[in-house]
């Protein structure tokens, strides 16, 4: 037991926080050394570790002795929680570990960390409300940029959506996913602990921290994310999430059923978010676009009626297709669309009126839920007040001397001062600058991909074979792989 404890506590050498700042070489050697000892221990003294586990784990600090902590925790928790220690105590430790672990050390933990994170997201060990928050924190500890999609993301989004614990997961959902596992890899980086590494360098299958994902899982992630935003009624973000699925890159006319489902939801959400139906982005696959047109007909028909001035027809159309909505599990969204119809009508009045009495609003707008105008001016007031509170409408309801209530539309947000404006622009420029390394990494990766090298080799042999043709030289600048077509970070 003492021997075990000694091994476990041997790394890091000093418990003060300075060590986490040690230079890469020192840290890398020490960590690798420790890991080899740990894995030997796990292999040879597993039984002993189990018996003393509950005492050992008390000795260790998850924030400092992360690697050792993972080893002990893994032994105790997986495949099933050990009986030597009360379940709630162990799980408490597990949660605490997820919140505080040291990401630099954890990179060396490989499959063990992966399994712990997967266990956290599986919903078997922790109650969902705890698990979502803990896992979200853990994901962002491991990859603070949150730009790489992993299996943990998928577990998180499913758990969060299915158990309706979405808010704690939002920090993860709001990140832009840029990297995907399975891109041509660099092999193992020189120093795994190097904090300047881009996420895909350490979150790869080679380092054991991430596994490959299937295409359908990536689509699932975004569609679940969209549905989560729908549950929170954040239509704009839901719109973006669904759009990613709708416009997912396709090849050779491939279309996924998930994309079709996403398109249906996307149409509805686009009505909610923008009040009209938008065209799919220009880069949407042609085959997909065609299928959207065919299979999404009931939805586009709904969208056409939504912008037309006929609430009754909209209501009738919705009722006619009740079965479709429920088969596609979109009944809730369709109801939301109906409820928002009148709100968008009121917003449309802003283009015509500067002040308008509530009774006129009542006459000029119709509720798509009933197909009729609202009964009382008070109902209109409630509707308008709700819109103002939710930030959808920029205006105030006032009362005249003679008691007529009216709505005044306010002009859109006041002009920014020169400073604020410059700050906003500088912010964008800064964010674009931050993309520079990502762009570089991506370029490097594409430059080393098998297809590209093949292409270059082929070009070269062709160039060698043929006499340099002056007309070809012009073409040579048009590089097939130059997907960035003019997008270069500026500023």
């Amino acid at each position: 037991m003492e021997q075990l404890a000694a091994t476990l506590l041997a790394f890091p050498e000093s418990s003060d926080a300075d060590f986490s700042l040690a230079d890469n070489l020192t840290f890398d050697t020490a960590a690798k050394h420790h890991v080899s000892k740990l894995s030997k221990m796990l292999k040879d003294q597993n039984a002993l570790l189990l018996t003393h586990g509950h005492r050992l784990i008390d000795l260790l600090d998850p924030a400092v002795n992360t690697l050792s902590y993972i080893a002990v925790l893994h032994t105790l928790l997986l495949p099933s929680p050990d009986s030597s220690i009360p379940r709630d105590v162990l799980l408490n430790k597990f949660v605490r570990f997820l919140y505080v672990y040291d990401a630099r050390q954890a990179r060396y933990a490989r499959g063990h960390l992966q399994e712990l994170l997967l266990a956290a997201g599986s919903g078997q060990y922790l109650p969902p409300s705890v698990a979502v928050d803990a896992l979200a924190t853990a994901i962002l500890r491991l990859d603070p940029t949150g730009s790489m999609l992993t299996m943990y993301h998928l577990n998180l989004v499913k758990l969060a959506y299915q158990t309706d614990n979405i808010t704690p997961a939002l920090p993860v959902f709001d990140k832009n996913i840029i990297y995907f596992p399975g891109m041509a890899s660099y092999g193992e980086p020189k120093f795994l602990c190097d904090l300047s590494l881009p996420p895909p360098a350490y979150l790869s299958r080679e380092t054991g921290l991430a596994s490959y994902l299937k295409t359908s899982l990536i689509l699932e992630y975004d569609i679940f994310r969209g549905m989560s935003y729908c549950a929170l009624r954040d239509w704009a973000k839901a719109y973006d999430a669904f759009e990613r699925v709708v416009a997912y890159p396709t090849r050779e006319g491939g279309v996924s059923k998930i994309m079709i489902e996403a398109y249906k939801k996307w149409v509805l959400v686009s009505l909610l978010a923008t009040g009209k139906l938008s065209e799919p982005p220009s880069y949407t696959g042609a085959a997909a676009n065609k299928l959207y047109g065919n299979l999404g007909k009931p939805y586009t028909a709904l969208a056409v009626l939504f912008v037309a001035d006929n609430a009754e027809a909209l209501k009738a159309e919705v009722e006619k297709n009740t079965q479709i909505w429920s088969e596609d599990a979109n009944t809730g969204l369709v109801q939301e669309v109906l409820a928002s119809y009148q709100k968008w009508q009121v917003l449309g009045l802003e283009q015509i009126y500067s002040k308008i009495s509530l009774s006129e609003i009542r006459k000029q707008t119709t509720s798509a839920e009933t197909g009729q105008a609202l009964q009382k001016d008070e109902d209109v007031e409630t509707l308008v007040q709700n819109m103002i509170i939710s930030g959808m409408l920029n205006g105030v309801v006032e009362k005249n001397d003679d008691g007529t209530a009216f709505l005044t539309f306010l002009s859109p947000s006041a002009q920014l001062s020169e400073k604020e404006f410059a700050k906003e622009l500088a912010g964008t420029a800064e964010r674009l600058k931050q993309l520079q390394p990502i762009f570089k990494a991506t370029k490097e990766r594409l430059g080393t991909s098998k297809e590209y090298i093949k292409h270059v080799a082929k070009e070269k042999t062709r160039a060698d074979k043929n006499e340099p043709d002056p007309t070809l030289a012009f073409d040579a600048h048009v590089d097939d792989e130059d997907l960035m077509g003019g997008v270069v970070a500026t500023g």
Binding site: V35, G111, F180, M183, T215, I356, S357
Partner: protein, 453 residues
């Protein structure tokens, strides 16, 4: 009833001097249109139309006019079918066609170019006069290979255009007018042909609904004498009316002043239709309701014009909304009552019209129904610029991210691929062409074999 009086005057004037105002085949068309559209003038116009038809050789026209008058006034002497005339005319027509065709054959055998051209022209003119427009246009087109001089080519063009005008094929008219009447600069004929060319352009542009272009064309017609020579197309009065109305509908005040009122050559036309000049100058002077009043009193006349008829509602509503916009320009805020007083018919409110104009973007203003005001929208161009700049920055960022994302998807070989092997995604992908394709099944799922090395 004053309006009716107007029309009657107009009509009598037209009938009395018919040969002077318009001649040629459009005369019948105009009469028939008036007969069909105007109740008080119906019988008179139709009677004149029947007479006009019988003066020519076109049996079909007689039939059309007869059908109308039979319904409208069965008791009139013109309502009796003149079988003798029809038979005689048809026979004469046939004989004439035959004669011209055989003459043409003779010319062709002789291989004299000029004779062949004349032969085609005569045949074409005859066919046109008996109403066979397609045959006529074919005959005219055959003139082209034998046309040797500039004036011959123009002659061909004019004949073809005349047919196209009768067929109301505006796009083709424009194309031909461009092609045929392209006169080399500096040529003397420029001046004599300009009225015709501009008139044709104007009519075709009017027919296509391009009011501003049409107005410009009519304003440039030039010498009224030249115009008079082509009054089978449109009379100088027509040019004045079309030009003035279309300019009112499509030009702003400054342009109206410089291009219409200060236009020396167009002044000659305006003298023929003084009310148009009055309307234009009222508009320029900002007396919009008076201007609209004048136009409104002539509306029925315009509705009886063959070229203008279809466009009258559009032109009038454009003029009207321009008046409202112009009226509003100097103000930041106008009471609805004063707008009603200036523009609305008694007892009606202008509000629905305003709403419509705001919706279509013609009027940049907001209605305040509480204080009964129409308020101008003050555009804050600084704020607009800032918003635009921020939006484009944001979009740029979004696009960059999206592109990098897509590159990485491509790099990871994770696109959705089409494949012959279609595997149902979640067991539900039985739609044709749809299915989740698991191309990467060989890839490993997370396993616990990864140990700490």
């Amino acid at each position: 009833m004053a309006a009716d009086q107007h029309i009657l005057n107009y009509f009598t004037a037209m009938d009395n001097q018919g040969g002077i105002i318009v001649r040629g085949r459009t005369r019948f068309e105009r009469l028939l249109l008036i007969g069909q559209c105007s109740v008080p003038l119906c019988v008179d116009a139709l009677k004149a139309a029947v007479a006009e038809a019988k003066r020519g050789n076109d049996v079909q026209r007689y039939r059309d006019a007869f059908e109308c008058i039979r319904v409208a006034a069965p008791d009139e002497p013109e309502a009796k079918w003149d079988e003798a005339w029809v038979t005689a005319t048809e026979k004469a027509n046939k004989a004439e066609t035959h004669r011209l065709e055989s003459e043409l054959k003779g010319y062709k055998n002789n291989l004299v170019k000029e004779s062949i051209r004349i032969g085609h022209r005569d045949l074409g003119e005859h066919l046109e006069s008996i109403g066979d427009l397609n045959g006529a246009s074919e005959a005219y087109i055959k003139m082209r290979p034998d046309a040797s001089t500039q004036s011959h080519i123009q002659d061909v063009g004019k004949h073809i255009i005349s047919i196209l005008l009768q067929k109301r094929d505006w796009a083709a008219v424009l194309a031909n007018a461009n092609k045929v009447l392209a006169i080399s600069p500096g040529s003397n004929e420029q001046n004599t042909e300009q009225p015709y060319q501009k008139m044709i352009y104007g009519l075709a542009q009017l027919g296509e609904g391009r009011y501003y272009d049409a107005a410009k064309s009519f304003l440039e017609v030039g010498d009224p004498a030249g115009c008079q020579a082509h009054n089978d197309v449109a009379s100088p009065n027509d040019v004045a009316t079309y030009g003035g109305l279309l300019a009112l509908a499509s030009m702003d005040r400054l342009e109206l002043q410089t291009r219409v009122l200060d236009n020396a050559s167009f002044r000659n036309y305006l003298e023929l239709e003084p009310h148009i000049r009055k309307a234009v100058s009222l508009f320029v002077n900002g007396r919009y309701s008076a201007c609209l009043g004048i136009l409104e009193s002539y509306r029925n006349d315009y509705l009886l014009d063959i070229y203008l008829q279809a466009h009258v509602p559009a032109i009038f509503s454009q003029i009207r909304s321009k008046c409202i916009v112009q009226y509003f320009v100097p103000f930041s805020c106008v009471t609805l009552d004063s707008l009603n007083a200036a523009f609305a018919k008694p007892g009606e409110s202008i509000e629905p019209e305003l709403i419509n104009m705001i919706k279509t973007g013609a009027l940049n203003a907001r209605i305040n129904t509480i204080d009964k005001l129409l308020v101008a929208v003050s555009t804050n161009s600084r704020a607009a610029m800032q918003k635009k700049a921020l939006d484009s920055a944001r979009n740029y960022e979004k696009e960059v991210l999206e592109r990098i994302r897509r590159m990485n998807i491509a790099a990871a070989d994770l696109e959705v691929k089409g494949s012959k092997k279609v595997v149902g995604g979640g067991g539900a992908g039985n739609m044709p062409g749809v299915g989740d394709v698991w191309m990467d099944e060989t890839r490993r799922q997370p396993t616990s074999n990864d140990t700490m090395v």
